[in-house]
Structure formats: C-alpha cells, structure tokens
Symmetry: C2
Subunit: 150 residues, 2 copies
DNA sequence: TGTTGACCCTCCAATGATGGGAAGGTGCAG
DNA sequence: CTGCACCTTCCCATCATTGGAGGGTCAACA
C-alpha cells in the first residue's frame, strides 16, 4: 500500500502521514526499493486509531500516550480511563469558555436593534464593560490554541 | 504612556501590542524621540476594545472589521449585529463539535471498568468504530485551529 | 521505445496568535 | 557614573496543517 492509498484508507492526508512519521508519533513506514513508503494493514489500523483520537480532540502528545497504551498488552484500563477522563474535563472547560462567549455576545446582540442607525450596544458594550463577560470573579488562564475536527 | 503601562492598562501583552501594530490591526503608535512607543488614552480605549473582542473569541481579521465599524460613526447597527451573530453561529458550531467529542468519550469511558485489567473498551472503541462519533451522516469539514481566552 | 500523467520523494515556507530570548539603546534614581 | 528597569528590533519556537518547488518512479498506451 502506497501513501496515497493509506491516506484514503485512514482519512489522514498524505502530508500528515509523513508529518506523523517525522515527529515520531508513528514508526517510520517501510520503504520499497523506489523509496516509496509501504503500509501494511497493521499500519493502517494504527493510523485509523490515530485519526479517531485526533477527531476526539486529543493532541498529538496525548495520542502518543494512547498509542503506547494501545500497544501495551499489559496496560491497566484505569490508565486509559484516566487519560480519557482528563481529556473530557479539558473539553468541558473549553465548552464552558465557549458558552460564556456565546452568552455575552447574544446578550449584546439582543440589545442591538440591528437597523440602519449607527447606535449599537454591541460596540459600546465592547468598549465600556469592565470585563467582556459580565460574570464576576472570572479568572483568566493563559490563552491556548487548539484544533477541532469538523 | 509607554508600552509597558499600555500593556497593564489593556491586559494585552507587550509582545502582542507590537504584533497588532505589525500586522496592521491597529495604527502604529506615535514615537517619542527615544523611539519608545507612546500611547494616548484614545489608543488605550481602542486596545481595550480589541482585547474584549479577542476575549469573545473573535479572530484578528474579524476584530479588524469590528474596529472599522467602531470607528465609523455612520455605520449601521445591523452590520455590527450581523457580524456578531455570525460569530455566535461559529462559536455554536464549535460547541456542537465539542459536545460530540465529549459525548463519544464519555460513552467510551462509561464502558471501561477502569481497574488493573488490560481490557479497555476505550481503546477498542477507538480501534474499531467506523466513526469516532457514532452519529450517522456526519459531515467532515476541514480542520481549523483557533484560540480561546481562558 | 518513448511519452504522458499520476503518483511519490525531500525540502522549504506559510498559517495564527503567542511566548522566549539576544543584543543593544534609553531613562531615571542613587 | 553606575545600575536597573524599561524600551527597541530581530530571530526563533510553538501546534497541526497545507502548499509548492524541483525532481524521481511507475504503469499504461501509442
């Protein structure tokens, strides 16, 4: 199986297949005499595992841990569960942040008449509120970036 | 006002103040003879606007549009509202994606006994399910990355 | 056999928002 | 005058991902 077929079989782009290999997430693929990468069914299964974990919002480092557990026949399921639940908590935290943003914006938009007049509470709200979100005691954590499957 | 004070006054890091200027999000600050950037209260107000929009998850390009509207005394509030509601829809889309991930992961974790035995439905779920999320007819959009204020 | 087109290779660069650090200038207080 | 806090620019790293250039391989077809 060449890399293009592997890409179709797993839903991971050719670019990312090479990238995952480069960063050591997966073991380097075998090579044909031509230099082409060759993928076995076992490789494909592992890559599918990777893609699914990625679809669930796991970061590459976390996927590496999951892969380790996946391949370790003697792992404890508690370890896997802990990792999964940690991730759930992280996702829930993001969701809370999203909810806060949505709530604030909807609140602002609700008070905007939305016609041709220039007066707009959204803009003045953005200009003058002490916090973008009105909830008191809100703590600011360092901004982080993340990716989401669509 | 020097850049450090401006940073404290707005909650935007010194690095980002320079970055916003570099990418043209805000007009270059005036300079003292020393070359130091000098910020007026007007600048500070605009930067606070920027920070609040950022806290609400707007991307820099969208913030640029908001700034244009903010500074355009003849804007129609409908334009602002449309932009805000567009953004709300985007945030809601992200939240749906998060919900899907959380649901799938919780479902998997629920069936994991989480003890010292190696058998773990989370891993086999990741290995064998057709889709990471069981919902049928799910469409895949191109993955995008974004940042969230914490 | 030669050509064509689809595929593959590596290397480099960009994205977006942010932080880190080096090397050097400025400003103020002691 | 010294020291320290602050400022400047410039370059690099992050994370996951895409794009492209420049060139090799393979299979089919005339």
């Amino acid at each position: 199986m060449n890399i293009g077929e592997a890409s179709k079989a797993t839903g991971i782009s050719v670019k990312m297949l090479r990238y995952y290999e480069e960063i050591g997430l997966v073991r380097p693929a075998l090579r044909a005499y031509s230099g082409y990468r060759v993928y076995s069914e076992k490789n494909i299964a592992m890559l599918r595992f990777v893609r699914r974990a990625r679809d669930l919002g796991f970061q590459v480092k976390q996927i590496a841990s999951l892969l380790d557990l996946w391949q370790d026949g003697s792992r404890a399921s508690a370890d896997v569960k802990a990792l999964a639940l940690d991730h759930v908590r992280e996702l829930e935290q993001r969701r809370r942040e999203l909810d806060e943003m949505i709530g604030t914006l909807q609140h602002l938009a609700l008070h905007c008449h939305g016609d041709s007049r220039p007066d707009c509470p959204i803009l003045t709200g953005l200009s003058t509120e002490d916090e973008a979100t009105p909830k008191p005691g809100r703590k600011k954590a360092p901004r982080r970036s993340f990716a989401v499957a669509g």
